[in-house]
Symmetry: C2
Subunit: 344 residues, 2 copies
Amino acid sequence: MRYIMIIDCHGHYTTTPPQVGEYREKQKTALASNPHHVGEKGSIIISDDEIRESIEKNQLRLQQERGTDLTIFSPRASWMGHHIGNENTSRFWTEQQNDLIRRVCDLYPSNFAPVAQLPQSPGVPPEKSVAELVRCVEKMEFIGCNLSPDTSGGYWRDASLGDRCFYPLYEKMVELDVPAMIHVSASCNDCFHTTGSHYLGADTAAFQQLVMSDVFKDFPTLKIIVPHGGGAVPYHWGRFRGLMQDQGFAPLEESALKNIYFDTCVYHQKGIDLLLDIVPPENILFASEMIGAVRGIDPETGYYFDDTKRYIDNNTKLSAEQKNQIFEGNARRVFSRLKISDVK
Amino acid sequence: MRYIMIIDCHGHYTTTPPQVGEYREKQKTALASNPHHVGEKGSIIISDDEIRESIEKNQLRLQQERGTDLTIFSPRASWMGHHIGNENTSRFWTEQQNDLIRRVCDLYPSNFAPVAQLPQSPGVPPEKSVAELVRCVEKMEFIGCNLSPDTSGGYWRDASLGDRCFYPLYEKMVELDVPAMIHVSASCNDCFHTTGSHYLGADTAAFQQLVMSDVFKDFPTLKIIVPHGGGAVPYHWGRFRGLMQDQGFAPLEESALKNIYFDTCVYHQKGIDLLLDIVPPENILFASEMIGAVRGIDPETGYYFDDTKRYIDNNTKLSAEQKNQIFEGNARRVFSRLKISDVK
């Protein structure tokens, strides 16, 4: 099956050259002797060839193998590490990571479009992330951002996404017309496994925080992507519908689906079939999170677990037109700043 | 459709007479002036008639309306409140709650079988819960217990269930041959909604803690029920299979399904269909959590969201024999102390 264009809305730069990790280690070393260490943005010296090598052998190769065209690309989520250090640590680290994403997209403008990490930090108002969002979108043509609902690395010490402290960020997102993908970083809490229970739990929590808040009333054009197929939400759609009804909220169809989109990072056929059966096609964006959480080949199918395009191809309920929406149309609508000229 | 017997493995006494709440309020008042308050077990004066009224108008009525026979019944989960007060607070409260469950089951021996709350408390080793488990099982003929993976009310400050601090409890469970249902209590963290994101996130986290630990190697006959349809697990079965494989663990079928059971508290047809399609029937126990998390009627079907028997009845893939397993056989196997004479 071939569609006009396949846009993968969820990819992270998980294969960065080693200089990136070295920069981060230097930050940690400085913080070890002084938790209030300010430091400076400094520089990470990486050649274009090094970036090419890190991409062409990995994400670009898999794009070609799987027949996808463009990945909406952001810094490695598990490395965002908002809980590490202080406000300055996160700011400089985030700027470096976003600069690097811009370079990847400059080298492969037909294959990658940039999404920003935000310099969130525990105890620092989300408003402080607005400047980096503006820098990325206005100066560097980024088309969206990743927003973490837990900067404490699995201890959930932050405010809910329904809290007004997030409003300055939402206001700017609306003004710039960019969506946020909800995404936590690594868990430093033994109770949670980063790419399993932590990611999925955060998706579910964030969804519920938002639908049981005033956020979408106050920002009716805000666009939120809940990744990993929405965590537990579609599987428990009846529970969430029932809870909304019990507590006097409007039905999810009215209160949530005008603002919330789910991605397709669900790594088996039956899970994808459920997602496509529960959530309206206009609220689903194709994604694989390649190269990310699960890297192996499923012995039951002989294909990569995260080759999610196959599951959508194989789904028998949706029409070709609906699959086009999921593969391309919805991403163009949600990421309205994605330029046509960026893509083949 | 009619089966030999329908056993609902997941019901809480959510409709207790007001004296129960009053006892708890007195505990809280005493703690407000002295967090180290010890107090005493004291007594909660409730007549048999008051218990009858609280049960007959509610759980018993719904059992009859829905055609279920026996509910495996435990104290109200959201009221366990392990984070409140200290070790003594939880001990006395738990003993009272378990005593009350015993009384319900004495009044309706054909309709309810008792499962214990445990007196877990933050910072107190799980070993300290062994005495109450023994009291309930050996002296009061309880057939299982509820085990919380988070006594901190949504802040996840405890050890993982894979930690050896839980081993004395597992050892006693194995010796007594009683299962534990994983169940958190209310969230006091604004980030989580108790019966939505908190319950489901805890189910998912607990599953992953256990399957990525040595617990089932060290206790090959331990029996664990992950409620609410396993949280996000069946929907993300591919992700969990892939993560296990990436990290060198045995496949879930070998490492998890000899010890873990999922209940059917999934409140819509498509969700139940997925559960029944992913998880082998021998690992599924019928449950509704009635009267619990979601109390309303689904306007799309005209039936209660939590009338989960209907969804299983309506499932077209499983055979009658497999449905019998889910409705009765598996519960008898897992709750091996359930006496035949207890039921009709």
